[in-house]
């Protein structure tokens, strides 16, 4: 405001650190450390590499969907149809291969393409017809699920060849194969969000879409890209899921969208848009998964576990709000 506040300018790095610890990420790290310590004491099977890798395997599909969801929520949108696209493209994989006789490789690619197209369909309406994302994806949530049932006639496709399971059930370089997909996708989405003009544009859109448009950011194209990307990732996750469970079902992924959104929101992405990071989302994912797993290993049942997770979600945002109000002013 004036010269009397011309204090020492904090360095970029210390600023980032400060942001990190006062932000949701900091809260999550604390929660995570507490959870790990407590759970490690209550169950000796918890802190083993075998268990942790296995948990990572189980986390992959939700994780893959949470990455584009972070982008979308940062722009102030939402995609409720991811679970349905996930199920739909998985079903299409099995249907194309078994009913239509395509080679499995082709069916895999085609199913991911179909997921992408489903995302594109959402995107076209959201961008060009200006249907609010929540409404559009609420409608396609029902539509894609319906297509999954209709096309497959609710039949599951099974009996895949051995090589197909390499992606979902076996290890590559010592860790479950699909985790590689998640690691690569996380790193790319992280860097893109944090370091590229595209990522910066997403934040700008989420904070002030008019301002972004007036700054020459191709808002429509960016939105088109992220909703399509969400469909693509849902297709990819659907494929990995099929490989993991070795069958396709028209109802797989039902209700998954809420798990995904919970992880993203827990990770500090503001549902109002404009704020959020990929590391935050990953922390959110990991915290939920470890709680589920660790509590189960400590003898807490599934129903109690979801109570704990719900409470953690509310509590962590509450604490974050408190910290923001207390310290972010200064």
């Amino acid at each position: 405001m004036s010269t009397r506040e011309a204090q020492r300018e904090p360095s970029e790095w210390s600023l980032t650190l400060r942001e990190f610890f006062l932000g949701q990420e900091g809260v999550l790290v604390v929660f995570l450390v507490i959870a790990v310590v407590v759970l490690a004491f209550t169950s000796q099977n918890f802190l083993t590499s075998k268990n942790l890798l296995n948990q990572a395997r189980l986390m992959t599909e939700v994780g893959l969907l949470a990455l584009p969801m972070t982008y979308i929520i940062i722009t102030g949108g939402i995609d409720l149809s991811v679970g349905s696209i996930f199920g739909f493209s998985a079903v299409m994989l099995g249907w194309l291969w078994q009913e239509q006789g395509f080679p499995l490789e082709v069916a895999i690619v085609a199913s991911i393409v179909i997921g992408t197209l489903a995302g594109l369909f959402n995107a076209l309406f959201i961008v060009y017809v200006r249907v609010p994302p929540i409404i559009m994806t609420l409608a396609t949530l029902a539509l894609y699920r319906g297509l999954a049932y209709g096309v497959s006639q609710a039949r599951s496709a099974r009996g895949y060849p051995e090589w197909f399971f390499r992606f979902g059930q076996e290890d590559t370089f010592g860790i479950p194969t699909q985790i590689w997909f998640f690691i690569v996708a996380s790193i790319i989405t992280w860097i893109v969000l944090a370091r590229t003009p595209f990522g910066r544009g997403l934040y700008a859109i989420g904070n002030n879409v008019t301002g972004a448009r007036f700054s020459g950011i191709p808002v429509d194209r960016y939105l088109l890209v992220i909703y399509t990307f969400s469909g693509f990732m849902a297709g990819l996750a659907g494929f990995l899921f099929t490989s993991r469970v070795s069958t396709t079902r028209a109802d797989s992924g039902t209700g998954m969208e809420l798990d995904v959104i919970a992880a993203v929101v827990l990770g500090g992405t503001s549902i109002m848009g404009g704020r959020g990071t990929i590391p935050g989302t990953i922390l959110g994912l990991v915290l939920i998964q470890l709680l589920k797993n660790g509590l189960s290993l400590s003898g807490v049942k599934g129903d109690a576990t979801i109570v704990v997770i719900g409470s953690v979600l509310i509590l962590s945002i509450l604490i974050n709000n408190f910290l923001q109000r207390r310290f972010a002013q200064a």
Binding site: F125, I135, L138, A142, L143, Q153, L258, A262, A304
Partner: protein, 336 residues
């Protein structure tokens, strides 16, 4: 001369006014919905006249009732720019509470009012977190959904409730041949519509959703309005839960799947703007009825069971698109 022209002028103003209100009515989402319901019903009826039997129509309305009652509160919440995804779980919990009280020989009135009170307490708590502690509603209710869902199983172990005394089944009664839930739906929708149109607090809901800052400056307390909305929403959900619980001879101690989406969809199809500040409860009720007409009509039209969901999805999408295009056209025509 001057006097005549003045009289003439006022006359045109009057007729112009009524004309405008007519076009206003014809252009409203409620009217479009009503037309969609009628058109769809006619199509189904012409294919299969049994669709038009009194019993079927009453069944449809009755099945839409608890969704519509839930959508009343949901509309208010959405108009203020918030959302509640925990309603499905909450209704599951309420049904269990009502059933448990009824089988444990508590007086019936207690079994009926307890779920309503419980819902008001839970929604009041949600409202407190949203209004006073400023946590986004979707976060609170997402968390609450887990807590209620898990807590229900934790408490009951999932046992079904049966051997409930007959007088408990409020929703099964049919005074004058019309199922009870329809009375509830119509009465509550009318009351809520009047309240939202005529009470200062009702108008404040629109103000808070339309421009929270301006509302604050007009001396409207956003926090109090939000609390009122969530508690009222709790009341409506409580009634919806009661109608749901007393419809069946046995009560499942689980959460009805997808109920929250159904209620939200009814409100949104009914023209309640998810961006806040506009919408009516009559629209929400028509939205609920439309969903049920679609569901039921598809069966009558022999749509393959496998394609039911897809057709439903398309019809919902079309309704929503029609609403959006209507708004766009209205804005454009006025802009000229």
């Amino acid at each position: 001369m001057a006097a005549t022209s003045k009289a003439y002028k006022s006359q045109t103003v009057e007729s112009g006014f009524s004309l405008r209100s007519l076009t206003h009515l014809l252009g409203s989402q409620e009217f479009i919905l009503l037309m969609s319901i009628l058109a769809l019903s006619l199509v189904v009826y012409s294919d299969n006249p049994r669709f038009g039997t009194e019993r079927n129509l009453l069944n449809i309305l009755s099945n839409a009732s608890y969704i519509a009652v839930g959508a009343i509160g949901m509309s208010m919440v959405i108009i203020t720019g918030n959302i509640d995804v925990s309603v499905g779980s909450l209704i599951g919990v309420l049904a269990t509470i009502a059933g448990q009280l009824a089988v444990h020989d508590y007086p019936i009135w207690m079994a009926w009012t307890a779920p309503i009170l419980a819902a008001m307490v839970v929604e009041g708590f949600i409202g407190f977190l949203v209004a006073y502690l400023r946590i986004p509603a979707i976060v609170v209710t997402l968390g609450m959904m887990s807590i209620l869902k898990g807590g229900l199983i934790l408490a009951t172990g999932g046992a079904w409730i049966y051997d409930i005394p007959q007088e408990f089944f409020l929703a099964q009664r049919q005074p004058y041949g019309i199922p009870m839930p329809i009375y509830f739906m119509v009465t509550l929708v009318i009351l809520a519509a009047l309240w939202m149109h005529y009470s200062p607090t009702g108008r404040a809901i629109y103000a808070v959703g339309g421009n929270a800052e301006a509302a604050r400056l007009s001396g409207i307390s956003e926090k109090r309005t939000l609390m009122t909305v969530f508690i009222l929403h709790g009341f409506m959900i409580g009634v919806a839960g009661l109608l749901f619980a007393t419809q069946f001879t046995t009560i499942q101690s689980t959460v009805p799947p997808g109920l929250e989406l159904m209620i939200i969809t009814a409100a949104v199809v009914g023209g309640v703007s998810i961006l806040g500040g506009s919408g009516t409860v009559i629209g929400a009720m028509l939205g609920a009825i439309l969903i049920r007409v679609i569901q039921s009509g598809m069966i009558f039209l022999n749509v393959s069971a496998y394609w039911l969901q897809a057709v439903q999805g398309i019809l919902i999408l079309l309704t929503v698109l029609a609403d959006i295009l209507r708004r766009r056209r209205q804005a454009a025509s006025i802009g000229k």
